[in-house]
Amino acid sequence: MSDEHTDHTQSRPALAWDHPVSILITVALMSVFGLLVQFGFAHLPWFQQFEARHGFWTQLLCAWVSIPLIFIFRRRQRLTDQLRFRADLRAGRVMRMSLATRSAVMLIALVMVVSGSLIEHGMLLLMLGGPVLLLFAIEEFNIILRPGNSVLTDPRDELLAFFKARSMQVGYAIAILSMAVLCLVSVFATRYVATLLPVGLTLSLLTPSLFYSRLDRRAGSDE
């Protein structure tokens, strides 16, 4: 019928990087390649114009160009790691990041985005906090759709489906409420809408996750 995947003794976090040396080598290769790309492009007129106009973004462009390197170098190692990761996923040994950590990261990113949009020279805060907030928002949405500690959830688990429905109900209510508040704010103080939007997003995602956690904890209480 169903099963829970919470009590595995050999569980490990989903984002565990077991090979720091491998990561260092890849990053070093990417940096060298990025510099080579920048050096090569430096002779092209359109690139010179782009560099003159945007400066910092040139480095970022070169870094992005060098990303395909990950898929070229150390291919065998990467494929082995992927196979091992899939086996761990199927066996339920891969754990999700804890709700406490996810919440902390999202709240820090939210503070950065909100303060970045309010203060005069807050572009750096927005640039740092914005992508982190969006990334964690996507992940949180994914977790709400597939709750539980295990990354691969059992679709036949009735209790999980029941808890998921309850927590999604809460998230939906919070999202509607947030939109109603944003509508009201847009009537009286339009300039605060952009600031409040990420707050509504964070609340709509974290509240159902907290609610699910509460339901799950109560269900697991001793007989």
Binding site: M1, S2, E158, L159, R218, G220, E223
Partner: protein, 74 residues
């Protein structure tokens, strides 16, 4: 429908068979949390799960589940 709710005698049957929630969970192939929530009327199981639980306890669904007048839960 509104004036009744689902009651269960899961705990009585479990005690009679000297099974813990974990034992019954293993017999039925579900998590201990599922047994705990069904026992405490937090979660209403599907017909399929009710039949599986009844079979695991060697009884019938009717003996395990019954309708009680709606009111405050005990």
């Amino acid at each position: 429908m509104n004036d009744v709710r689902l009651g269960n005698r899961l705990k009585q049957w479990r005690d009679e068979k000297e099974l813990t929630q974990a034992d019954l969970a293993e017999l039925a192939g579900v998590s201990r949390k599922t047994i705990n929530t069904v026992e405490n009327s937090v979660f209403i199981p599907s017909v399929q799960l009710a039949l599986v639980l009844a079979r695991a306890l060697g009884t019938t669904v009717e003996a395990l589940f019954h309708l009680v007048p709606a009111g405050p839960k005990h």
